[in-house]
Structures are given as structure tokens and as C-alpha cells.
């Protein structure tokens, strides 16, 4: 094996090594810890791009950990979808890390950098693994790091929201394990590709159990994706977290969506009998309601960060409308929108933080406050992020929603999808216009102007996020072609099964 063959393990290994080093150095030499954080994030981006270059032709890289043959050992599988998620995670991580360091949010509590790296390790591992139990383990890794990050900076509000967040996720983990136990009992394997083959042989008497396992697994992923009615934990948690952390959490709901996209076609695909696409009929209406609830929240939110949190719920709903079609075109559109909505959600949180840092005691509440310095630039950034989130031209949200609408037109009940997506876009535009005019336009003469910020460097990270969105719009042809190819690959699980299960006795 040459060194290049070990590429798939690097996105997990790099943060796993960086985290303890950052932990050792954080106390005494913050600059070194910051350096390690950036170096690790840059290395992950480089590895992710390399992986993407290697798999973009359609090859599927299977990496057997410890060289145990596939159904018995744990495999990491890098295909187009996994590479896309890795690149997205690395880009988002760089932006968020930059913001945290520039605003010194990383110094407000202990262990920001180690937790950040462990979070990335969990995310990268969840995107790469080809083993269902290993997916659970990486979920736990990213969750326990996210508990620490969510509580970063402390304070009563954060602790209160943190308790709920932890309890909800512990229940989710318990359900995940129950579903895993049922699937193992029925199929005798935990390797996703192998399980996809073995569900076909499940006895007719056990079909009901298989269906229950599929639905349980689906609801666990829906909980992570914050789909209505399992979304109640998200707005409070994200609005209470440090904004830089909330921006990183923009990808956490996408982990749930990713798992649905990965597991449903591969394990509960065409051949799965009673469990074939079992979560799909529930996902579709839930996605429609999520989009409505999310953008209704955007409409009534009283602070910019709360609005950003509801925008995440709404955009995940929109994304799942596309995913729930389970066709190549709709899934491809969904994947493009997934990349866009992650970056747009992060941009919203970062802009909300920039606003809060300039308005003194007013924070990011959507009420007329003091006329702070440099309003013009911040207002433009907010407008760009809002345009991207709601899906107005020229940014990538428009293209993403257009692709989703186009692909939904082929579905039987396309009227609902069109109505909900267009209606929520309209509501979202009004909601953002309302908060934007309250924060940037109307000023309260009575309050004194807060001191001008010492530095304008904190505009850098949100600007970078918006630049990524602009690049995603400019390169929409390339990006959506890649997304379509990734969707086609996910919907043809036989390819990945062939790549994963080449060795060994099967």
C-alpha cells in the first residue's frame, strides 16, 4: 500500500492528532494552539480536495481499518457524496475558526481548539464510515464535542439550553442503538453495503421488525436534522450558543440529512421488502411542515441569531423536500442546496455576531438601536446573507431552489412542493426585511452610540462565507453536475457494495 492509499483515514486522523496537541498547548501558548488549529483545518481541506479529485471520476475508495476484510472489519468509504461533505466541512471549519480567533471567542472558555478538532473528527468520520455502528460512534464523538462547544463561554441561558440539548441527544442515541440492535439481529451484519444485500433475505415473518428498525433509524436521523416535530431543541440551542459555534453547528443538521441520504437507499433500497424506502412517506410531509415552521420562525424571530436558527430549520426542510423525492434529479438538486444552505446558515450566524459586537447592550435584537459605526458594510453583508438564505437571485440559494422546483415538477404531488417552497421564500423575504430594517435602518436617537469597534477584522469571516456562496453561484454548473453525479452514485448502491465487498469470503 502506498501512502496515497491511506488518504481516506487522514480526515479522521489529522484532527485526532491535532486535538491533544492543542490541548497541551492551549493553557500556556494560545498562539501555538491557534496555529495547530489552523494547520489542521488547512490540512483537512487539502486532504478533502485530494479525495474529491480522486473520487470525482466515479471510483469508490474503500479503506479497511486494520486490514480486516470488509464485512468483518470496519471500512471507511470515500465516494463523491462523502468527499463533497468533507470539503464542505473543511471550508466551514476554516471560516468558523477564523471568526472565533479574530473575535477572540476561543479565549472565552477552556479547550475551544481541542473540542473544535474533536468535533471535526466526528463529522469527518460520520461522513466517511461504511459501518452502521461506527456511524453511531462518530455521532457520539461529534455530539460530545458539540456539548462542550455549545456550553463554551458558559452563562445561565447557555447551560439551560445545554441541558435540553444533551438530554434530547441522549434519547436519540438510545433510539439509534435500539435500531442498530434490531438490524443486527435481523441481518447479522453492521456493514452498510453488506446489510443492503442481506435485507433481501430477511424472512417474511420478520418484515415488520425490519420496517420498525427502518423507521426508528429514520426518526433518529430526523431528530439530528431537526425535522418537525423533532425540531424543538434546535432554535433555543443554536440561539444560545456562541455565534461562531452556532455557525459550525450549521452542518450538524446536515449530518442527519446526510445519514438519511446514505442509509435509506443503501440499506432500505428497492430490495428491502416491506422496509423499502420506509421513512420516505413520513419524510415528505414532515419536510413540508419543517420548511413552513422554519420560515414562520424567521418571520417572527426577535433577534438575528434566533432568526438564523429558524432559517436553518426552514432550509433543512426545503432540502428534505428535495431529498424525499429519492430520484437522481431531486437528490442532486438537494445536494447542491445542502452545500449552499450550510454556508448561508453559517454566514447568517456570523453576521448576527458582527452586529451584536457593534450594538453594545442591544446585541442582535431586532429592535431599533443606536446608530453604530460602519453600518453600511454590515447591512450589505446581512442583506447578502438574507438573499442567499431566502433564495433570491443572484446568489446560490436561488439556483438551488430553482433546481429543487425543477426536479420536484416530475413528482406526483409537485403542487405541494412548489406551493411550500415559493410561499416560504416569500415569508422569509418579509421576515428578513423586517429585522434588517429594524436593525440597520431605524435608529433610536435616545440611546448613546456605543464605542466604535477597535477592529474591522471581524468582518473577514462572514465575508469569506459570502464569497464561498458567490463562488458556488458562479460555479453552479460544475457544482450541480458534481452533485448530480454524487446523487446517481448514492442511488446505485450496488456499485458501492461491489467496491466495499471485493475482498473476503463473500
Amino acid at each position: 500500500m502506498s501512502l496515497a492509499d491511506h488518504l481516506p483515514i487522514l480526515p479522521v486522523a489529522i484532527p485526532a492528532l491535532a486535538a491533544p496537541f492543542a490541548l497541551l498547548l492551549m493553557r500556556r501558548r494560545r498562539a501555538l494552539a491557534v496555529g495547530i488549529g489552523f494547520a489542521a483545518a488547512l490540512a483537512q481541506l487539502a486532504v478533502a480536495l485530494l479525495l474529491m479529485a480522486r473520487v470525482s471520476g466515479g471510483t469508490i475508495l474503500a479503506y479497511a481499518l486494520g486490514d480486516w476484510p470488509a464485512p468483518f472489519g470496519i471500512v471507511l468509504v470515500a465516494d463523491r457524496l462523502a468527499a463533497l461533505m468533507l470539503v464542505l466541512t473543511a471550508v466551514l471549519a476554516l471560516i468558523v475558526l477564523l471568526h472565533a480567533v479574530v473575535t477572540r471567542a476561543d479565549g472565552k472558555g477552556w479547550h475551544f481548539h481541542p473540542l473544535f478538532q474533536f468535533q471535526l473528527m466526528g463529522l469527518n468520520g460520520a461522513f466517511l464510515t461504511g459501518d452502521l455502528f461506527n456511524l453511531f460512534v462518530f455521532f457520539e464523538v461529534l455530539l460530545i464535542a458539540s456539548y462542550g462547544l455549545m456550553l463554551h463561554g458558559q452563562g445561565p441561558a447557555r447551560l439551560k439550553a445545554g441541558v435540553q440539548y444533551v438530554v434530547v441527544n441522549l434519547v436519540g442515541s438510545a433510539l439509534f442503538l435500539i435500531a442498530l440492535g434490531m438490524l443486527y439481529a435481523l441481518t447479522g451484519t453492521l456493514n452498510m453495503a453488506d446489510m443492503g444485500l442481506r435485507v433481501r433475505e430477511v424472512a417474511p415473518a420478520d418484515q415488520g421488525l425490519l420496517r420498525i428498525a427502518a423507521l426508528l433509524l429514520g426518526s433518529v436521523f430526523a431528530l439530528k436534522a431537526a425535522v418537525v416535530p423533532l425540531h424543538l431543541w434546535l432554535p433555543r440551542t443554536y440561539a444560545a450558543a456562541t455565534p461562531a459555534v452556532a455557525a459550525l453547528f450549521a452542518i450538524m443538521t446536515k449530518v442527519g440529512v446526510y445519514s438519511l441520504i446514505r442509509v435509506v437507499p443503501q440499506v432500505f433500497g428497492e430490495g428491502a421488502g416491506a422496509a423499502a424506502f420506509a421513512p420516505a412517506p413520513w419524510l415528505w410531509p414532515a419536510a413540508l411542515v419543517s420548511a413552513c415552521v422554519g420560515f414562520a420562525g424567521v418571520f417572527v424571530a426577535r433577534s438575528l441569531s434566533e432568526q438564523a436558527a429558524y432559517a436553518i430549520v426552514g432550509s433543512t426542510g426545503t432540502l428534505l423536500i428535495a431529498v424525499a423525492g429519492w430520484s437522481g434529479a431531486s437528490l442532486g438538486a438537494g445536494l447542491y442546496y445542502l452545500v449552499h444552505s450550510t454556508l448561508a446558515g453559517a454566514a447568517l450566524f456570523l453576521v448576527a455576531d458582527v452586529v451584536a459586537r457593534r450594538r453594545g447592550s442591544f446585541g442582535d435584537t431586532a429592535s431599533p438601536g443606536p446608530a453604530f459605526g460602519g453600518r453600511g458594510t454590515v447591512a450589505l453583508m446581512f442583506m447578502a446573507a438574507a438573499i442567499a438564505t431566502t433564495g433570491l437571485p443572484p446568489l446560490s440559494g436561488f439556483i438551488g431552489k430553482l433546481l429543487i422546483l425543477q426536479s420536484a415538477a416530475a413528482l406526483p404531488n409537485w403542487g405541494w412542493a412548489w406551493g411550500v417552497i415559493l410561499g416560504t421564500t416569500f415569508i422569509g423575504v418579509i421576515g428578513f426585511a423586517r429585522t434588517g430594517s429594524a436593525v440597520f435602518w431605524k435608529t433610536n436617537e435616545a440611546c448613546e452610540t456605543p464605542p466604535a469597534p477597535e477592529t474591522r477584522r471581524d468582518l473577514l469571516a462572514p465575508a469569506l462565507a459570502l464569497a464561498c456562496l458567490a463562488a458556488l453561484s458562479a460555479g453552479a454548473g460544475l457544482a450541480s453536475a458534481y452533485a448530480d453525479a454524487a446523487a446517481a452514485q448514492v442511488l446505485a448502491p450496488a456499485q458501492s457494495a461491489a467496491a466495499v465487498l471485493t475482498e473476503g469470503p463473500r
Binding site: 445561565p156 439550553a161 442503538l177 435500539i178 442498530l180 433555543r236 434566533e306 435584537t365
Partner: protein
């Protein structure tokens, strides 16, 4: 009564008690409920390899039948993870009680002061 019935009903009782406790308002009961649920989940995982009596899990020349070793490894992982998580949630609940003066999970009995009024009490309902 068979062994299977005993294990199945034990899991059922644990889950029922766990769900009841997890839905209570105070953090201590919720933590206890989560612990009961995790015990049930561990038993369930263990049983997913079928319940076999007096059989070795590893290869032996003289034995023809085995018990499935994999669920035991899975349970071990699950126990370690839930143990860590439980310790974390206990400390978190304690910190939250000490800082806010209330051990209610939803925190609604706490009068929130003006500054964090927005981030606290509100926002969970659309």
C-alpha cells in the same frame, strides 16, 4: 417462564420506567430515566445476538455451537459511551442548578433578567 420472556420483560419494564422518569420536570429524575433507558438499550443490544446458554463466544476445537461475540463488543462500546455521557449530564445538571438556582429542565420557573431574557425562556415554540 422462558429465559427470553424474562429478558424481554426486563427490557420492557426498564424502558417504561425510563420513559416515565425522562418526562419528569426535574433534571435528577430525567438523568435517572436516561440511565434506565440506557440499561435497557444495553440489554437489548446484548440480546440482538440471540440468547444462548453456556456457549463460548470464541473459537474452541471441542465446541460446535457458539454465542455471538459481536453484540458483546457492541454493548461494551455502548456502555462506555453511555457511562461518559451520564457523568457529563450529571455535572451539567449540577452546574445548571448552581448557576440558575432551578433544576427544572425547561427552566421556566426561573425569572430571567433582562439581558438573557431572549436567549432563555423563549424560542422553543414556533
Amino acid at each position: 417462564m422462558s429465559y427470553e420472556f424474562l429478558v424481554a420483560s426486563a427490557i420492557g419494564v426498564l424502558v417504561a420506567g425510563g420513559i416515565y422518569l425522562a418526562l419528569r420536570a426535574r433534571t435528577f429524575q430525567v438523568v435517572l430515566g436516561l440511565t434506565l433507558i440506557s440499561y435497557a438499550v444495553n440489554l437489548f443490544l446484548f440480546a440482538s445476538g440471540r440468547l444462548v446458554l453456556n456457549r463460548p463466544p470464541i473459537w474452541d476445537k471441542s465446541v460446535a455451537e457458539y454465542t455471538d461475540p459481536l453484540p458483546q463488543a457492541l454493548v461494551l462500546t455502548a456502555i462506555v459511551i453511555t457511562f461518559g455521557m451520564t457523568a457529563f449530564v450529571v455535572i451539567l445538571a449540577l452546574r445548571s442548578f448552581l448557576e440558575t438556582g432551578s433544576d427544572h429542565v425547561d427552566g421556566d420557573t426561573v425569572p430571567c433578567d433582562a439581558q438573557d431574557g431572549l436567549a432563555d425562556g423563549e424560542g422553543a415554540e414556533p
